[in-house]
């Protein structure tokens, strides 16, 4: 999967799970503010990542993931580690 395809997949499940308009998702935008994530929502973020990519994210892994770009990079890193 190319990075573009991966980003498209991530955006797709974020839009569906957190019910936001596609236009608000920009690489430099804040993940937490854009998706309006509270502590419970991070649990659901773990669930959708696992169901889409097959790996489990620990809560502490979200520390430092400020923007969507950070999030894409993190997922890519985990995907590469799987390979």
């Amino acid at each position: 999967m190319s990075k573009e395809e991966m980003i498209e997949k991530i955006n797709g499940f974020l839009i569906e799970e957190f019910e936001v308009d596609a236009s608000v998702i920009k690489p430099e935008a804040s993940l937490q503010e854009t998706l309006d994530l509270d502590s419970l929502d991070y649990v659901d973020l773990v669930v959708v990542i696992e169901s889409n990519f097959g790996f489990k994210v620990k809560g502490e892994d979200f520390i430092g993931l400020e923007t969507f770009q950070d999030f894409y990079d993190y997922i890519e890193e985990r995907e590469l580690a799987k390979a």
Partner: protein, 407 residues
């Protein structure tokens, strides 16, 4: 003591999803019972069930509001929206006053099953997601609705088996009567999914008249062979008379009696004595005379043993008055945790429109029901006061009496 009146009602059931549709179903004797093949495939002895539509509330509620809602909480949201609207209570009023919530509910099986299945498969509790806990707890209805409607008064769930909804209204009645609350959202809710009823089916309590689903629920009839599980939700808004008058609300009825008792015997078999004590306690509160009751909506679920005991108890109290009796469960099936609340809504509809809903499928009485004035067909009849019985496993009994309001 404060007088306690009803100013709003709402219903989401297998015989309709609005007061108007339910009124027509009750008058026409329309059954909401179907045969569900999925239950048979799952291993049920009986595939009969009330057919209740599970709503998609995406347009009405935010993701966070919806994600913790169980099936029965969704039903209760819809019935509560209707009831608040009829009562003329908007969000501004809810924000500025101490409104409570008491709901009857006694299970949330699907959410529990789905969570356990996920944990078993994934070996990881986080992967059940954040909504599961709020769907799984027994207080799933009161928990979700108190949050959605931002309620600030009393807030909990009452679990009293198939009398849960009735007890919820009864406890609300007592709190308002004592001046501890001015207005409470009361009701009952019941999940209808296959996980909710598997073990109930397992004890052989359900009718197996699968070739005639709409004829399977036949309370008091000689050939009854068991109940049909059903569900949905019903809500009533109860408040002190002074609160209703201050708001200028239309009063649908006044609660004048709440009887309760415990059989003190078998876990599933009823007895006459416990039912009589509940009936008499409610009647004592309302003045003591059975002749004030114009109509009885019986608990009768269509089980051979349960209906017999209730017929005997009703005959002892109402026999000399030949009081009209029917069981709306003949149309709805047994709405279980919801039934005590929905049957108050059904009674309010009958009282407002002046008719007695039929006990459909009552074709041949048995030796006990033959002594009662059971209406097999609907009949136009003025009702100024009705009584509703609800009995449950564990021997819990509840009786409510509602009168037309007279100032």
């Amino acid at each position: 003591m404060e007088r306690v009146v009803i100013t709003g009602s709402g219903i989401h059931s297998c015989i309709g999803e609005s007061l108007e549709v339910v009124r027509d179903s009750l008058f026409k004797g329309k059954s909401g019972i179907v045969l569900d093949q999925e239950r048979k495939d799952f291993g049920f002895r009986s595939g009969l069930t009330g057919a209740v539509r599970e709503p998609d509330l995406k347009k009405e509620l935010s993701r966070r509001e919806r994600i913790g809602m169980s099936e029965q909480a969704k039903y209760a949201y819809l019935s509560t929206v209707q009831a608040l609207e009829q009562a003329g209570i908007d969000q501004d009023h809810l924000d500025k006053n101490e409104i409570g919530i008491l709901f009857g509910n006694d299970s949330s099986a699907r959410a529990v099953m789905e969570a356990v299945d996920t944990i078993r498969e994934k070996k990881d509790t986080t992967l059940v997601g954040s909504g599961s806990i709020f769907q799984s707890m027994n207080c799933t209805v009161s928990m979700n609705l108190s949050t959605i409607f931002k309620l600030k008064g009393i807030n909990f769930t009452i679990s009293g088996a198939c009398a849960s909804g009735s007890h919820a209204i009864g406890i609300g009645f007592l709190l308002i009567q004592q001046g501890l609350q001015e207005c409470i959202v009361c009701g009952g809710a019941q999940e209808v999914n296959k996980y909710a009823f598997g073990n109930f089916d397992g004890i052989g309590a359900f009718s197996i008249r699968e070739d005639e689903p709409t004829k399977a629920s036949r309370p008091f009839d000689r050939d009854r062979d068991g109940l049909i599980p059903s569900g949905g939700a019903a809500t009533i808004i109860i408040e002190s008379l002074s609160s209703a008058k201050k708001r200028g609300a239309k009063i649908l009825g006044e609660i004048v009696g709440y009887g309760f008792s415990s059989n003190g015997e078998h876990i599933s078999n009823p007895n006459k004595d416990g039912q009589l004590r509940s009936l008499k306690r409610a009647l004592d509160q309302s003045g003591g005379d059975a002749k004030i009751v114009d109509y009885v909506n019986a608990h009768a679920t269509s089980t051979p043993v349960g209906d017999s005991f209730e017929a005997q108890a009703l005959y002892e109290v109402f026999g000399s008055h030949n009081t009209p009796i029917s069981s709306t469960k003949s149309m709805t099936g047994h709405e279980c945790w919801m039934a005590g609340a929905s049957e108050i809504v059904y009674g309010l509809i009958m009282m407002e429109h002046g008719f007695v809903a039929p006990n459909i499928n009552f074709e041949n009485p048995d030796e006990n029901s033959v002594k009662l004035n059971i209406f097999a067909n609907s009949k136009e009849l003025p009702i100024n006061c009705f009584l509703s019985n609800s009995f449950g496993f564990g021997g819990t009994n509840s009786t409510l009496i509602v009168k037309k309001f007279v100032s």
